[in-house]
Symmetry: C2
Subunit: 189 residues, 2 copies
């Protein structure tokens, strides 16, 4: 998505440790008009697939998941990053390591909201090492639901998450793939 690449170049910045900072429009301050454009793009990419539900993970996946869901007319389910006291009953969980924050957490969704055979699109803002996405895949598998594919805003193509997940036969579509970056430049695939 050319408009996203342009936005990253114009408004994003690079921090030490391979971090692409896009909090001016994507994951802290949200440009809602642009968010809707990304939602439309995701809906268009997956327009030939039957999708029952979008699954994402808190927090920064929620906005883009809502934008895509709005275009596709499906609900959004978001995994929580620990076990809050107000999710009772049967839950689906997956352990996830966050490389960004260097900690481990458990992604949790109530089993009430993901049923056997449901066709699920995974949506997130970033894909780097793939830990979060693999956790969501694990949760869908636990529910015996079906992963239709994943839609990501920004993939770090120089980390191996996308490659590893595609190698499992899962369709992963990223609106922008950063092939390489230095302190002051970003090259897209």
């Amino acid at each position: 998505m050319k408009a996203l690449e342009k936005k990253i170049l114009e408004e994003g910045s690079i921090l030490p440790g391979g971090i692409i900072k896009v909090n001016s429009f994507l994951n802290q301050n949200i440009d809602v008009g642009f968010l809707m454009e990304m939602g439309k793009e995701i809906a268009s990419i997956y327009s030939k697939e039957k999708i029952d539900k979008i699954l994402t993970i808190e927090s920064s996946g929620i906005a883009i998941a809502v934008a895509a869901a709005m275009q596709m007319g499906v609900p959004v389910l978001f995994a929580k990053k620990h076990k809050p006291s107000n999710i009772p009953g049967k839950v689906l969980t997956a352990p996830i390591h966050s490389y960004t924050h260097n900690n481990d957490y458990t992604a949790v969704v109530s089993a009430d909201f993901l049923k056997e055979g449901e066709r699920v699109l995974l949506v997130d803002d970033f894909l780097a090492n793939g830990a979060a996405l693999e956790g969501l895949i694990e949760i869908v598998n636990q529910a015996k639901a079906v992963v239709v594919g994943a839609a990501i805003a920004i993939e770090k193509g120089f980390q191996d998450g996308g490659k590893r997940i595609r190698a499992k036969g899962i369709r992963v579509e990223s609106l922008a793939i950063v092939e390489s970056m230095t302190d002051d430049s970003v090259i897209f695939k």
Copy 2:
């Protein structure tokens, strides 16, 4: 908002400790069509006010904030609940106690995204004891921005947050106010 009261009665449930569980449509599984209706209602309530930005707090405020922002054509800024490694530079912070999870955290937003004089609408899914909303007010005050008001999906009218914040002269509009509840009934104001 009658449709929200109806939805709470039909799809919500009551848990011990005064918890209204609405995770089937609001804060885990999101009914995106209904979310948009709530966004329209918020935009309508505040249609006579000039608003530059919506401020909410992760995670469950994000979806309804995005829905309202879409109707109002303004960006959403969301406070994070700790200091993540990828918010550099100057930040605005407020300490908050979560009664739901019985812990303390710091709400953080980058000072880059909230400027002096900006007119801010606060949006959240719940208002109970008011701790989160007061934290957001504190952040807006630190930025020397202006709190136009707050828009809440569900207020627990039997807890004192709404009363205390309204007593400060801040406009608080809740789409549904639960006046009282027992194990098997909910009475709206």
